[in-house]
Every structure is written in structure tokens, then in C-alpha cells.
């Protein structure tokens, strides 16, 4: 076989170039000159105003969501209900914002039935799915005996939600009941356990329940403290009650 060092060098050189190109660009990003620091600058989250009323939910939607939240996470000895923890307010604010609009998602067709291994498949962004599904649930229940969801006894509410989660409730062509329940359950958990700055997890109650210490940057002093109770209470992005002098 003829030996051809020139070709091999050329190939190696090209390979080196290909490797070097991304290295130089990332090196440029790491130099101090490009890092701009400004006083008073922080990427702070928008806090939820807990005093305000719902901005997305209609009165009927709020009644359904509150009733469903109370059944998905009822109050017991370990912690408050989802309603007491502020989850409906969290849901309202999330649906009114970019999450509700699916602002960062691909929301073009084709829209098909979820095969079970796919992500979100609805033609509606989350806010739209809440609107369509709650309306369809109301229509569905009024066909039975007229009582809306939030006026039914807890046992009936539980049974309906179980049917919804199992795909046994036909909400018509426009709304997939199982898909909606999956989304609602996910969102209720998010609201219950997210930082209180977003409206849920009021008084850090969910974090106290599970012993999560919250928005802390550094656990080094406690990592090797085997057999000792963790000393710090939960703290949210916005702080905790001990930050202020009670007076």
C-alpha cells in the first residue's frame, strides 16, 4: 500500500482545527473583560401579590380548582391542604403568565392522542386546557344530576377525580380528561412545594413537612455532621419570619 503522509497530516490538521474552534470561542467567553457587573443588578423573580384576587380564573373555574385542590392534597396531621397552602393562587398566576401561554413550547400541529411516552400533546397551551376542560367537566356533570363539582360531597369528588385520571370520563372531542388531570396533578404538586414567592407553599409549610431547608447556597458545615439533627429551618427566596424583628 502506498504511504501518503501528506494526506494523513491534512486529515489530522483538519481534526485539530475542528477541535480548536469551539475551544477558542469558549475561552473568549471565560475572560473577565466580557463579564459585565452592575450595581443593584439581580435576576429577581416576580413575587406574587397574595392580596390580589384571581387574574386568570373565572368564578366557576376558581370554584372547581379550589375544590379539586382540596381533594388532591387534603389537610391532615402532617400539613395543610393545597388550598390552605395557596396552591389555587399559584395556579392562577402561572396560567396568567408565560407558562399558561406555553410561551416556550412548540405549539404547532399535528396534534394527536398522547401515546403515553410523549410529553405535552394538547393543541391548547396549559391555560387553554384548564379553560376547555373545566367547562367540559361542568357540562358533563350537569348532564348527570346538575350538581357542580364543588358542591358535591368529598367521596363523590374523589370518585370523579379517579375516573378522570383513569380516562373514564368522556369530555368530548375538544378536551382529553386524562391529559387534563395529569396536568392538574402536576401543577398542584408544583404549587404545593415551590418557593412561597410564587404564591403556594404558604408559610413554608410544605418544606417544614418534608424537612427541606429551602433556598440555601451552602451546606458544607452540615454535610459531615453525622447523627446530628440538621439545625436550620427552611428559608424561601424572600426569606423567613426570623429575618424581621417582631414588634
Amino acid at each position: 500500500m502506498p504511504h501518503n503522509p501528506v494526506d494523513r497530516r491534512a486529515v489530522l490538521g483538519l481534526g485539530l482545527l475542528a477541535c480548536a474552534a469551539p475551544l477558542t470561542s469558549s475561552a473568549a467567553q471565560l475572560t473577565g473583560a466580557g463579564m459585565v457587573w452592575r450595581a443593584n443588578q439581580s435576576a429577581w423573580p416576580t413575587a406574587t401579590d397574595l392580596r390580589a384576587s384571581y387574574v386568570y380564573f373565572t368564578a366557576d373555574e376558581a370554584a372547581f380548582v379550589e375544590a379539586a385542590c382540596a381533594r388532591i392534597v387534603p389537610a391532615d396531621a402532617t400539613g395543610p391542604s393545597a388550598v390552605e397552602a395557596g396552591v389555587p393562587l399559584f395556579l392562577d398566576r402561572q396560567l396568567a403568565g408565560d407558562y399558561g401561554k406555553g410561551a416556550r413550547w412548540y405549539m404547532q400541529g399535528p396534534f394527536g392522542k398522547n401515546t403515553g411516552t410523549q410529553g405535552y400533546q394538547s393543541q391548547y397551551p396549559p391555560a387553554g386546557l384548564y379553560r376547555v376542560a373545566i367547562k367540559a367537566i361542568g357540562d358533563h356533570l350537569s348532564r348527570d344530576n346538575g350538581a357542580p363539582f364543588h358542591k358535591r360531597p368529598a367521596a363523590e369528588q374523589d370518585a370523579f377525580l379517579k375516573d378522570l385520571s383513569a380516562g373514564k370520563v368522556d369530555l368530548g372531542a375538544d378536551a382529553d380528561g386524562k391529559a387534563y388531570f395529569t396536568l392538574l396533578l402536576q401543577n398542584v404538586m408544583e404549587g404545593y412545594f415551590s418557593d412561597p414567592i410564587y404564591g403556594g407553599n404558604r408559610d413554608l409549610s410544605a418544606w417544614k413537612m418534608i424537612g427541606f431547608s429551602g433556598a440555601r447556597y451552602d451546606q458544607r458545615p452540615y454535610v459531615l455532621a453525622y447523627g446530628k439533627p440538621y439545625p436550620l429551618p427552611p428559608v424561601g427566596i424572600g426569606g423567613r419570619p426570623a429575618w424581621s424583628v417582631k414588634g
Partner: protein
């Protein structure tokens, strides 16, 4: 605002001084010592002048962002109004190209322009008067070698009557003594600190007319909403706990085991001290560490235990990640707080401002990473900032007067545009 009003009152008061006192100032052109023997500019003289421009941090004021070096135009906020630094390139029309070495000496030594008009003491001639005639000539020789830049800075924004340059004579009568026989000082360090280095420009407390308070040199100043720490032998608020090599390291690299340079000092480190010789830095360190502290120790009331408890909660949750629960932090990366001068400064402005607005460590050739502290002004309200500031000033052996929420509110209005965002009503 209060200071401006005071300044007017002061100007009116001193205007009533007998003309005799005002006339005591030496006539500008009468007492000029002879220029250095050589009339032709020597390369060694230019090299010396270039180094003296570094010592004097000329570029700290005479460079504006985006402008040519030494061409001036940087707005200098003073308690009385904005003064723009002048063009000191050798342009004949807009710079000092038409000046002689005598004219330059008169500016440095007496605060007088070539046309005889008074310079405002924003140009620190009360310090530069300590420079020798040979140093003044070398500096001038260096400035003559710069490319002339045609640039005229904006007019100063000073209210009447402060826009009348003649009134500087009154200020001079009160606060300025041109020394016809310039001292070189007993030590090199003193010569730098009191002369071209003009450290007291920021680090010495000021009178209501922005002159240095006599007898309180380097006890810590209040300038442009910063508290410049004391540069003296005080162990808590000064450099008493630093060794000379540590002072030199701070000035050379921007950091040492005690502190990180930032804020207004960052410019000084970049343009001036990081380029000084090791011998000069050591001389400065020796002088500052030995400089006595005359400030009267005031017995501050002890902090309220409830405020300390709130401050500790905030500190453990928000500050301990970098500064550590025991405050010892990671020296030369994140500055330790026990014993820190900025933390225990009598005037808490800087520690409040760091918490409100954050800060960034200066980047130097030796320490190129500009480590930064984030702003906490958006999540802590005034009482919370005051509590955590009081806590760090009075923990781990530190002791300093408590910080009030009203002091935080006042500074927040001046330096932090964003109002505090109350994160949530429920916590």
C-alpha cells in the same frame, strides 16, 4: 443638599473675612523656584515623569470613558456640583500645550492656572504642593510627550457663587498652605501619601467646605456615598492588623488575606497602585501602618439582641455561603469579616452599600478574576439590611455602632434605583 446649603452659608461667612487674610496668599508668579538645570528634556526625566503620573493617579480623573488618556472630561461629583477634569495633553488650544514648566509648577504648587485663574481644589493641589520642583518638571516633561488631543471638556456645573473662581482664594486662605520649600518628608512613604498619592483626598474626613479636617488625616472619609476606611494604626477601623507586605499586596494585586479592593478604590488600584514599584508600596505600607489614630473612641450603645437575632438569621441564610457562618470566608477570594476595617468603619455607608447594591472585586494582572457580591437590596427591606449590617459589625469580636433602618433608607434613595420588592405577604 444640606451640604450645598452649608457651603453657601460658609461662603457668605468667609466672604466677610478681612481682605488682608485673603491677600496673604503668595502671589502666584513671585516665588517660583528655578527649573531643573537641564533645559532639554532628558529621556530619564520623561521616564520619571511617567512613573510620577502613575503615583499621582492622574488618569483616575483625567481619563473619561471612551476618551483619549489624559484628555479629561470625567465628571467629578462634589458636594457643591459637578466639576469636569481638564485636558492635560499638550494640545495648544484645549490642553496645556501652551504652558511652561513654571506654569505647571504654579498649578501643582499653588493651584493656579497659566492664565492666573484659581483652580478648584477638586484638583488636589493641597497634596501636590508637596511634590518637588524636579518632580513637577519631570511630570510636565512626560505630559509633553503625549499625543496632543483636541478636546474641550463640558463646562462645570457649579451654582452661583461657587462658579466664581476668585472665591477659591477664600478657601485657600482657610485651608491651603503652599509650601515654597517643599518637604520631601522624613520618609518616602510619607512623601507619596501626603504628596502625589493624595490618599487623603478620599481617606481623610472633610470640613463642610470639603477641605481635609486638620489633625484627622487618614481617619476615614465620606465621599460620593462611600465611606473610605481609615488608613492608620487603628486595629479595628484601620490597618493596624495588616503587615507591610499585606498592604503592598493589596495595593499591587487588589486583594490580600484581609480585604478585596472594590468600588472607588478599584480605579486607583488599576491606574496607580498596581503599577507602583514594590519598594514604594512597602514604603507606603510602613507609613500608613504607623500613622497614629486620633479619632476619639466613642462608647456606642450595644446592639439590641432582637436585632442581632434577626441579623444572624439573615446572615446564616444569605451571607454564609461565601463569608461562612463564622465570618472567616475564603481569604483572598471572599474577604473575611472578623476584624475587617470596612465592616467596622465608624461610618457604615460602605457596608450598607455593599449589601444593598453588591460590589465587584477589582481585576488586576495578578488577580484577573473580578469576583462579585450580588445585590440584596431587592429582597431585604431597610430594617433587614440594618439588622444584618449591625450583626456583622458586632459579631466575632467586631464592635461598631449599630446601623439604623433610616440610614439604610437614606442611602437606598441615593444609590439603589430599584425599590425593595416585598417578596410575599405570607412570610
Amino acid at each position: 443638599m444640606r451640604r450645598t446649603v452649608l457651603a453657601f452659608a460658609g461662603a457668605a461667612l468667609v466672604a466677610a473675612l478681612p481682605a488682608r487674610i485673603v491677600a496673604q496668599q503668595p502671589v502666584a508668579r513671585g516665588l517660583v523656584p528655578p527649573a531643573a538645570a537641564t533645559t532639554a528634556t532628558e529621556p530619564s526625566q520623561v521616564a520619571q515623569g511617567r512613573y510620577l503620573a502613575i503615583l499621582g493617579d492622574c488618569e483616575g480623573c483625567h481619563d473619561r470613558p471612551g476618551g483619549a488618556p489624559f484628555a479629561g472630561g470625567l465628571p467629578l461629583p462634589t458636594p457643591f456640583g459637578t466639576i469636569y477634569s481638564v485636558n492635560i495633553t499638550p494640545d495648544r488650544e484645549t490642553g496645556i500645550g501652551a504652558w511652561t514648566a513654571d506654569d505647571f509648577w504654579n498649578a501643582m504648587h499653588r493651584g493656579v492656572r497659566a492664565d492666573g485663574a484659581k483652580l478648584y481644589p477638586a484638583f488636589p493641589y493641597p497634596y501636590f504642593t508637596h511634590a518637588t520642583r524636579a518632580e513637577s518638571d519631570a511630570l510636565f516633561a512626560y505630559l509633553r510627550t503625549l499625543p496632543p488631543v483636541s478636546y474641550r471638556p463640558p463646562p462645570n456645573k457649579l451654582p452661583f457663587p461657587l462658579n466664581i473662581r476668585f472665591l477659591v482664594s477664600i478657601w485657600n486662605a482657610l485651608y491651603f498652605k503652599a509650601d515654597p520649600a517643599p518637604t520631601t518628608g522624613p520618609t518616602r512613604g510619607q512623601h507619596i501619601v501626603q504628596g502625589l498619592g493624595h490618599c487623603g483626598g478620599c481617606h481623610t474626613p472633610k470640613t463642610f467646605l470639603a477641605a481635609d479636617k486638620t489633625g484627622h488625616e487618614l481617619e476615614g472619609g465620606d465621599i460620593d456615598n462611600w465611606a473610605a476606611p481609615a488608613l492608620n494604626a487603628d486595629v479595628r477601623t484601620g490597618l493596624g492588623a495588616w503587615s507591610t507586605p499585606e498592604v503592598a499586596e493589596f495595593l499591587k494585586t487588589g486583594r490580600n488575606v484581609h480585604a478585596n479592593g472594590s468600588a472607588s478604590m478599584a480605579d486607583v488600584i488599576v491606574h496607580s497602585t498596581s503599577k507602583m514599584t514594590d519598594a514604594d508600596l512597602a514604603a507606603v505600607g510602613d507609613y500608613l501602618r504607623a500613622h497614629p489614630d486620633h479619632a476619639a473612641a466613642t462608647a456606642a450603645p450595644p446592639p439590641d439582641p432582637k436585632v442581632m437575632a434577626a441579623g444572624e438569621a439573615i446572615y446564616v441564610d444569605e451571607c454564609a455561603a461565601c463569608h461562612a457562618v463564622d465570618g472567616k470566608a475564603a481569604p483572598t477570594y471572599f474577604p473575611p469579616l472578623p476584624g475587617a476595617a470596612v465592616t467596622q468603619s465608624r461610618d457604615p455607608t460602605t457596608v450598607i452599600r455593599f449589601i444593598l447594591s453588591g460590589t465587584q472585586t477589582v481585576a488586576t494582572d495578578a488577580r484577573p478574576t473580578p469576583l462579585s457580591m450580588p445585590s440584596f437590596g431587592w429582597k431585604l427591606d431597610d430594617a433587614q439590611v440594618a439588622a444584618v449590617a449591625t450583626y456583622v459589625r458586632n459579631s466575632w469580636g467586631n464592635a461598631a455602632p449599630v446601623v439604623s433602618a433610616s440610614a439604610v433608607a437614606k442611602l437606598r434613595r441615593k444609590v439603589a434605583a430599584k425599590p425593595v420588592q416585598k417578596p410575599s405577604a405570607s412570610i
